[in-house]
């Protein structure tokens, strides 16, 4: 209304014409009318509509959002149609979707203040050939998440790219029936995060040059608890040694050790096979109980205050912090732990005790007493993973009884069933 307009931005004009204007060099900050036109189209769309975006780089200063079910948003390619949020002033997200049956493909979302693509509470969601990126590379001021579906059901993320996220490049949270395939994530703090989710297949993805390649975990205090049943296969989680650039403000991710291939935290029923997990300098695979990564001192301290006792003991009545029924087999796992991240006291203590290096597999050995006192009661099964070295560092016993021998862990578990979503009949041959 009262804003001054640059000479080259005209009033409402068709998208195609805007593309021509953009090509003619009129794409300086705020092409407010492209933004406004697109937002109006999204608001006025009807189920079944496809909104086509032309080639060009388009500037946005405000989150754009969709709440209509059954809409497709598609560009001309992830390097051709670029939605740039550099200098964003309003809203944290780039594209915010709260709708079912949403398909987004062939475009890029760049330099958002917060998360690039947020999808909340949607059913039958497909993200295909979408690039999300912070173009200045790793930087603590980048947005936390690249592709961020949360509380979704029947979700497919494929052939997409995420770069530069200060938390996770591709995140899936509190969702069920999820397939992540053929994506590439690099230069993020965490490459992939699968959090509090159930029935997930992740395959043929590449995570490289992140701080950590992939996390599969449950956290307390989130509405959806009890994530489980995750299959991770035919992926490459290699050379994830980019120094952790998450600001302390992002919380626990700030403490992810640089050089983590994969971590599995407080979850059950995870099957990991046919992957390359290599050359991650702190550890290739880290399997842990919640309290191993949440500072023990913090937990002891809770005895001091009645209020904090309520909070941390237990953390969340519904939360189960143990890790169990984890099956790694037929992976190529090598070259890990050569240069652990001594920034973290826990990692340093462990690596000092082991002569400055860590094995490929690191397991804290924390088991629920109610499982009984038998060897490997958590059912951590590691088979045919090359010459990968192993250590159960006995977190509960303060490392008094470490176990290097793989024999107690040479077991197998029943294969998990492939994930079926409407977008693809069965996610892959899977099984074995």
């Amino acid at each position: 209304m009262k804003r001054t307009r640059p000479w080259c931005t005209l009033l409402l004009i068709p998208l195609g014409l805007l593309a021509l204007l953009a090509a003619a060099g009129c794409n300086k900050p705020a092409a407010p009318d492209f933004q406004k036109t697109l937002q109006e189209r999204l608001i006025n769309s009807k189920p079944g509509d496809a909104i086509d975006l032309p080639e060009g780089k388009f500037h946005f200063d405000r989150t754009i959002s969709l709440t209509v079910n059954g809409v497709t948003l598609r560009g001309k390619g992830m390097d051709k149609t670029i939605l740039s949020f550099a200098g964003q002033t309003t809203g944290a997200q780039g594209v915010l979707v709260k709708a079912d049956e949403f398909l987004i493909q062939d475009l890029a979302i760049e330099d958002t203040a917060g998360d690039a693509l947020t999808i909340q509470g949607g059913g039958n969601i497909t993200v295909r050939r979408v690039r999300v990126e912070w173009t200045r590379g790793p930087n603590e001021g980048n947005g936390p998440y690249g592709i961020y579906p949360v509380e979704c059901k029947n979700l497919l993320v494929e052939d997409s790219i995420a770069r530069g996220a200060a938390d996770a490049g591709i995140y899936v949270g509190q969702s069920e029936n999820v397939v992540l395939r053929r994506n590439r994530v690099e230069n993020n703090v965490d490459g992939f995060e699968i959090e509090n989710s159930e029935n997930v297949d992740a395959y043929e993805n590449i995570a490289t040059h992140n701080t950590g390649g992939m996390g599969v975990f449950n956290l307390p205090n989130l509405p959806r608890q009890g994530g489980k049943h995750v299959r991770v296969y035919n992926n490459q989680l290699v050379d994830n040694n980019t120094p952790n650039f998450a600001p302390k403000s992002l919380g626990p991710i700030h403490s992810l050790p640089t050089g983590t291939g994969m971590y599995i935290l407080a979850i059950r029923d995870v099957e990991v096979f046919n992957n390359k997990i290599q050359n991650n300098n702190t550890v290739n695979v880290y399997i842990v109980h919640y309290k191993t990564v949440v500072d023990d001192e913090a937990l002891r301290d809770t005895a001091a205050s009645p209020i904090t006792q309520q909070i941390f003991a237990p953390v969340d009545k519904r939360y189960y912090p143990f890790v169990q029924d984890i099956y790694f087999h037929n992976n190529e796992i090598s070259g890990g732990g050569k240069s652990p991240d001594n920034r973290l006291p826990g990692v340093k203590a462990l690596s000092d005790a082991l002569g400055g290096k860590l094995p490929d597999f690191l397991y804290d050995g924390m088991v629920d007493p109610k499982w009984g006192h038998k060897p490997n009661s958590g059912q951590i099964c590691l088979q045919k993973n090359g010459a990968a070295a192993f250590l159960n560092f006995d977190a509960a016993g303060q490392m008094k009884h470490p176990v290097h021998d793989l024999k107690p862990y040479s077991c197998s578990l029943a294969p998990l069933a492939p994930v079926a979503i409407p977008q693809i009949a069965v996610s892959a041959p899977g099984g074995k």
């Binding site: 209304m1 909340q120 936390p144 938390d167 989130l222 403000s249 205050s305 904090t308 909070i311």
Partner: protein, 363 residues
């Protein structure tokens, strides 16, 4: 707080005059009735609803269009807000303890946002938002006022507006006021994908209002007009604290009323920020659910801080950090807050400073 109460005085004055005019009948004699709509299409011009007298500037309510205000409202960039409700004759709202009153089909909730203008006695009307109870849902509609202040037009994606004024206390305000678009209405108003009114809860309406006919409790006024059914005895009616009046609630009650009105529409189960696990409804008594010593799970930027609320330490509390920011990734509430609400932050600072206990060392 001085500028707020002073401006509230101005608001009162405006409404009082409007009421007098309505009673006297001047300018309203033609008495067009309110244009009740329960489905598309909706009028493109605000005047076509016949909610106000057809004269410029003053929001003189038509017959049956009843003003109200709230014990503790949502802060929106120091905008003055003028609220009215209209219901079809003979169909009262039903009283409810929790949440908004159960309004009948055809209800129109009307809220006009205005800002002071330097050197002018009158405010500039910026937008009038309607929530209309249609056959299928509550429909949000935003009407944007023209520069002449003679008419407001329906817009889906309104442009931001530059606002500049000096408050009565001498504080200079200059910012871009972002008017929510039709989707953004849902971000605050939706619960489990159903759009609901936020403000007119019984607990927030339970206060006196200076009507042109005299001061009266708003709930009783509604009941007397036939706009409300099922009103329990006074002692049984919930009542929200008035956030800026220590006579009208303890520090704890006022702080929690403020959080309820400013945060709980998103931060509650089923709300936009329900997934964060934080629930700011004043009825929520579980302390972990209100962010006390709670570390953020997967949300926005939180500074070099570990917990949402650290008892005794407002400067270490993410809640304060985010309320004191206007950066897009940091500021809360995420919408319609382009300036810091200093008086509101001060209240929450005092509240956090008063909380007992301590948090564990951060992870």
């Amino acid at each position: 707080m001085i500028p707020r109460s002073a401006r509230r005085g101005v608001a009162r004055l405006a409404l009082f005059c409007a009421g007098v005019v309505a009673v006297v009948g001047c300018g309203c004699s033609s008495q067009r009735t309110v244009n009740a709509r329960v489905e598309e299409p909706f009028p493109k011009k605000l005047s076509d609803w016949h909610l106000f007298a057809a004269t410029s500037r003053a929001l003189q309510p038509n017959t049956g269009v009843v003003p109200y205000d709230l014990n503790t409202p949502l802060f929106s960039d120091y905008a003055s807000k003028y609220r009215f409700v209209w219901m079809p004759p003979g169909t009262p709202a039903q009283f409810r303890d929790e949440g908004a009153l159960e309004f009948p089909l055809g209800t129109i909730l009307i809220k006009t946002f205005a800002f002071p203008v330097d050197g002018r006695a009158t405010e500039r009307l910026v937008e009038t938002r309607l929530l209309v109870r249609t056959k299928s849902e509550w429909k949000p509609l935003s009407y944007i006022w023209n520069d002449a202040q003679t008419e407001a037009s329906l817009e889906t994606v309104p442009d931001p507006v530059k606002i500049k004024f000096t408050s009565l206390s001498g504080k200079r305000h200059e910012f871009t006021y972002v008017i929510p678009n039709a989707n953004e209405c849902h971000e605050c108003h939706d619960n489990q994908k159903v759009l609901l009114p936020i403000g007119p809860k019984a607990r927030n309406l339970n206060k006196n209002y200076a009507y042109s006919t005299g001061t009266e409790n708003q709930l009783e006024h509604f009941a007397r007009l036939g706009y409300l059914e099922g009103l329990p005895a006074p002692a049984a009616r919930p009542r929200a604290a008035k956030w800026d009046d220590p006579q009208m609630g303890s520090l704890d009650e006022r702080a929690r009323a403020y959080l309820d009105s400013n945060c709980a529409h998103c931060h509650q189960p089923g709300g936009q920020a329900g997934y964060t696990g934080v629930d700011f409804r004043s009825t929520q008594r579980e302390i972990t659910q209100q962010g006390l010593c709670k570390s953020p799970n997967s949300a926005g930027a939180v500074g070099a801080l570990s917990f949402d609320i650290v008892p005794g330490h407002p400067d270490d509390s993410i809640l304060i950090y985010r309320l004191e920011s206007t950066a897009p990734k940091v500021s809360m509430p995420a919408l319609s807050r382009d300036v810091v609400h200093e008086e509101g932050v001060q209240l929450l600072r005092e509240w956090i400073a008063s909380l007992p206990g301590r948090c564990p060392a951060s992870p």
